[in-house]
């Protein structure tokens, strides 16, 4: 029985955390008085910052059928330095990534998010012992299935870009999903300097420790992932010192039991943030 549970939880992690996702800007820091532009690329890929499949589309790209439903449920949200939202930014899907230009007319920090709102699914073990899953609130489960778990999953895939002096308006939690905040600014990260962040779940400290991983880009060109594994305190706080310069993908995930009225047993939220760290 115990063995079975271990297998099951392994499958669960694989399901929810199926693939790494990221949105990465061409530049995170910009200087100058004129309107600046950055190009962002987004992808679903397990090679960090090396794209594999597109992530997001504005209706102009060619979207693989397997991703159409996923993209439909995903929203692109850009919070500007003054707290307003930019409506002009969108991503177009290409075969291996999605891309879009963001114009920065304001000084300060922009937050670019791909928000996948909570959506229901069910996972189960089929009669033949293999793993199965189905999406939707009323997803049906094949006859003979066991280990049936009804759950909801949500994710945020984010990054930050700053023109001239950084500010913190766009860093404030929106209150939706798992988000990154805390004392350090995500566009002011340097090698060997202690950084303090805090995770928020639906705008509040998560109330229990959350596992966080950080992986520097370029996994495709090295043999070890050199993953940094951290655990927050129950307020979601954690500290890190980045050992090398580069882009890092921060990932975090949290599960809370579903409420009785929701009919869900588990509610999952995940977060993927691209962070750039500079040499001294």
């Amino acid at each position: 029985m115990k063995f079975g549970r271990i297998i099951f939880s392994f499958l669960l992690v694989v399901t929810v955390h199926a693939h790494d996702r990221f949105i990465v800007p061409s530049h995170t820091l910009l200087s100058g008085e004129k309107t600046a532009s950055v190009t962002l690329t987004a992808s679903i890929s397990n090679d960090i910052f090396h794209p594999d499949r597109p992530l997001g589309d504005n209706g102009r790209g060619e979207v693989p059928e397997s991703l159409q439903g996923y993209f439909k449920r995903m929203k692109t949200v850009v919070v500007q330095p003054d707290g307003g939202t930019d409506q002009a930014f969108s991503l177009q899907a290409f075969q291996r990534f999605s891309a879009g230009d963001l114009r920065l007319a304001q000084d300060g920090t922009y937050r670019i998010s791909l928000v996948h709102e909570s959506s229901p699914m069910v996972t189960f073990t089929k009669a033949d012992g293999s793993f199965g899953r189905a999406f939707g609130k009323d997803a049906t489960v094949p006859a003979g299935a066991t280990n049936i778990v009804r759950k909801a999953t949500a994710s945020r895939v984010e990054t930050f870009v700053t023109r001239n002096a950084p500010n913190t308006r766009a860093l404030q939690p929106t209150g939706q999903g798992l988000e990154l905040g805390g004392a350090s600014h995500p566009n002011d990260l340097f090698v060997q300097e202690p950084v303090s962040f805090q995770l928020f779940l639906h705008g509040k400290p998560p109330g229990k420790p959350v596992s966080v991983t950080l992986v520097r880009g370029g996994t495709r060109h090295r043999n070890q992932r050199h993953k940094i594994n951290l655990e927050t305190d129950d307020q979601g706080r954690f500290q890190v010192v980045f050992p090398d310069a580069g882009f890092y993908l921060l990932q975090a995930e949290i599960m809370v039991p579903g409420s009785a009225e929701s009919g869900l047993q588990e509610s999952w939220d995940s977060l993927f943030v691209s962070l750039e760290v500079f040499p001294e």
């Binding site: 820091l29 910009l30 002096a165």
Partner: protein, 163 residues
């Protein structure tokens, strides 16, 4: 140096000598194409808070961010604070930078311990940063620093006594 500069500064009367004099070498590099470096000279507190920009050489503000540490500590906060100390980029050679000890508002920077930094960044080239602790309002000091490529020798002379 510029030993001559050093002695000149030592022998001059306090009234004639700026509080701080730097002689910065922009090295000649055998590279093609060659772009002149952007260079920033500034003062920080020992806990790395930016205090004052002494000098900045650049052409386009779009690339100021590449003077990464200066941009972070002082540049990005307010361009008005370095407008008065801005100059064009320099070709290879030795250049003297002087500072009277006053900030952008004309107030004397308080005596005490600081760090003086010189950063250089060059298009299609590298980046260089040298730093040295200095005491303002203390003894006369002289330091010679050596860059790693984008900066040659950097001589720092701090006049003793008050600013």
């Amino acid at each position: 140096m510029s030993l001559s500069l050093f002695w000149l500064l030592c022998l001059s009367g306090p009234a004639a000598v700026p509080l701080c004099t730097l002689e910065i070498e922009v090295p000649r590099l055998a590279v093609s194409p060659y772009h002149r470096p952007y260079v920033a000279v500034w003062l920080e507190t020992p806990d790395r808070q930016g205090v004052h920009t002494l000098e900045i050489w650049y052409e386009q503000d779009t690339w100021l961010k590449d003077l990464r540490q200066w941009w972070r500590k002082l540049g990005r906060a307010d361009s008005a604070r370095y407008d008065g100390v801005t100059g064009a980029t320099r070709k290879p050679g030795r250049y003297r930078v002087t500072w009277d000890g006053r900030d952008a508002e004309g107030r004397a920077v308080p005596a005490g311990e600081y760090v003086l930094l010189v950063e250089a960044a060059r298009e299609e080239g590298g980046r260089d940063l040298v730093r040295h602790p200095v005491t303002l309002g203390g003894e006369t000091q002289h330091f010679q620093l050596k860059g790693q490529g984008e900066l040659g020798t950097v001589d720092i002379h701090i006049r003793g006594g008050g600013s």
